[in-house]
Symmetry: C2
Amino acid sequence: MFPKALESTIDALRTLPGVGARTAERYALALLTKEPGVSDTIATALSNLHSGVGTCQKTFVFTEPDEEISSHYLDPKRDKQTIVVVSDPLDALAIEKTGEFKGTYHVLGGLLSPIDNITPDDLHIAQLMERIKEDSVAELILATNASVEGESTAMYINRELEETDIKISRLARGIPVGVDIEYTDQITLGRALEHRQVIR
Amino acid sequence: MFPKALESTIDALRTLPGVGARTAERYALALLTKEPGVSDTIATALSNLHSGVGTCQKTFVFTEPDEEISSHYLDPKRDKQTIVVVSDPLDALAIEKTGEFKGTYHVLGGLLSPIDNITPDDLHIAQLMERIKEDSVAELILATNASVEGESTAMYINRELEETDIKISRLARGIPVGVDIEYTDQITLGRALEHRQVIR
């Protein structure tokens, strides 16, 4: 009673992250009860996904496929002397959504990880150093995660720029806005105390 | 920094049930990091979904698109005198998966609902009555949900068959297997007590 077309849709949807047999079944059956146009829209979007997304050859953020350098970097209003360094394009998108950053981004394309054999040569670090010279960058915000890899990548870049007088910072760690102190985990609370922000 | 192709994929994925902006984004970005073949597989499956699923003209379960009557009903091993009546094809699939039912199904295509203006004529009730005569059905298991609509649909069919001597039952309600008594909600526990199963 499970037609082949339904089976293959369920199998295909299971490749989405965190989607198991049950969820895939729910998705497939919901689409089946909707008009065919809905499934077709998703199908078309997915077929065009890879060919429709390019990578900026300067900052490595996502671009339209016909752009070599992202319009974001080319925008004269963006401050090219301030760079937020992130591990992947999603992190850049997340920061951009805050609307609080007027500089530019640099996507490393990963994080240093001796276990996974990822060395500085595998990341866009050389290109970062080039940009720093080219655009006479004044400030670098190292926005990598607080994981071992994130911290060591940040430390590596920091060390590489020891001889320069570029201002280097990490994103602030502390209690998230809207979270009560009593519900904050101990590590976060410890960090918030350590990096307490001076009022006067 | 959000290329159009990515935006439209995210928008398209948001039409899946329970998928909001965040999850759609996560799906789209996960597909983007995988090779294009993965997205293409989903795209192909979705394009073929509607054309690849038919409806049995006798039992209204899902069929392969070239079958008028489901192979399930035509199977001589299935008992045509015992029918499980369900609201939609998914319920039939769920019951079939138990492997405990050797009869056939009848999908009503919905439930009676005065509010939504769904009357007996909107459901496959006439076809059920026809099957009952045709196959001289001996037992009907009314497997509709315990909702107001499910109960009243079951009651309606029961009343329609008052003059016959067909055996009619509802699925047992009680404590789910593997759930402790102390964690069972009061309504279920009440029902379990009311419909206690006699041992001796």
